[in-house]
Symmetry: C2
Subunit: 234 residues, 2 copies
């Protein structure tokens, strides 16, 4: 009956364990992504029994949901960016984004969010909802242009792509280029996406229909086994 246990039972002192787990989990998800983060590792890192994690948060996905966040206050960012001269919102946004992401502390959760979104479909849904609700829509409201949500989506795509290319994959020379120059080039793009002329303003027949693709270069999967990454199979 009385199995010899060593130091089980409630801990003395104040009650901070749950928050501790939450912080540790956030850190791990950010650093490793969803798949590569294990509940055991979170518990270990938090100096806590693995069972406590399940106890407090339920499943791994529940834990993830309870924990993901962005390194910025979207509202304040949007305020800062959209105040000031209209023809420089692009570069303001680009500069802000690059300053945030160039700081490793802030970059972590962002990268983690992307990692999670690409590996767990359920996480992708959550990220989508989060981005839409907290960033896309607010930006759309602030800008009094047409198709604001579409514009915001284009912006998100360029920002996400920069994160992927510069910070995760590390494509050169983009990865080691000075922040200020990239901000200028990126800023011009964001400016156009946010406030410039888009395809909607063009007449139908200029939408690029005459640029359809001579489909000679798409391989359609089956034959071809040449463009292989790394060394060929041994």
């Amino acid at each position: 009956m009385k199995r010899p246990a060593k130091h089980t039972g409630r801990r003395p002192g104040r009650n901070t364990t749950r928050a501790l787990i939450e912080d540790t989990a956030r850190e791990q998800f950010a650093k490793l992504g969803y798949d590569r983060t294990s509940m055991r590792r979170v518990a270990l890192e938090a100096g806590v029994d693995p069972a406590l994690v399940s106890h407090y948060f339920g499943t791994k996905l529940d834990l993830f949901i309870a924990v993901v966040e962005l390194p910025i206050d979207p509202g304040a960012l949007i305020d800062h960016v959209t105040s000031g001269e209209h023809d420089s919102v692009g570069i303001r946004l680009a500069t802000a984004v690059l300053e945030i992401l160039d700081d490793e502390v802030n970059r972590r959760p962002t990268v983690g969010m992307i990692r999670a979104a690409t590996s767990e479909p359920e996480a992708a849904r959550l990220v989508r909802e989060f981005l839409t609700r907290n960033i896309i829509v607010p930006i759309a409201q602030r800008l009094e242009t047409d198709h604001a949500e579409y514009r915001a989506g284009l912006v998100m795509s360029q920002v996400l792509g920069l994160t992927l290319a510069r910070y995760i994959i590390g494509i050169e020379p983009l990865a080691s280029h000075p922040r200020e120059r990239i901000a200028v080039d990126l800023g011009a793009t964001l400016q156009r996406y946010l406030l410039g002329d888009l395809s909607h303003t063009l007449p139908i027949d200029q939408k690029g229909a005459d640029h359809e693709l001579a489909p000679r270069h798409v391989r359609h999967a089956l034959p071809a086994r040449q463009a292989t990454v790394g060394r060929p199979a041994s």
Copy 2:
């Protein structure tokens, strides 16, 4: 000594197993990414014993390396895009990219590549080398502009970002917008990245230094627990 085995030993008929495993693995990596693809599942899907996968390809990473490829012939794509009028290479490239990615068959390996690159650092290195060697550098050579590799990197960032936003995360309305319109808006960006004026051509004091960030909206990680995805912890 003679353990009763049922149908072990060499299979009758022609010898296609290795290729079979390779194809199945490619499919799985593309669909699931690196972490979520298991060698056992590959073997099961290929109707083959798990040991055969290790037998032929060694470690999981070896298998991955032997298998990743892009759905296009980069050379032909580059030819197609860079031939024709200079001021329409942007939209040609954008259209080509969108046509390729809108086809689910072609999209798979691309998405898989991104998945893998975001979850496995070693895979990210391979993807980086592949993209650089087979896409960035050729484009850089074709365009007789300055800073060609930097330009190509910007292009990659926007293309990768589009893939992430439109196809993986599914940000609306970007995800369901007609291909042709996006091609126009994206094409203008790519055009500028490829052949337009970049920050290098500007005098130093216009590089945006006066746009530094009032750093009020970056949270610097520690406090704040408000901008949470999904429902708060139960």
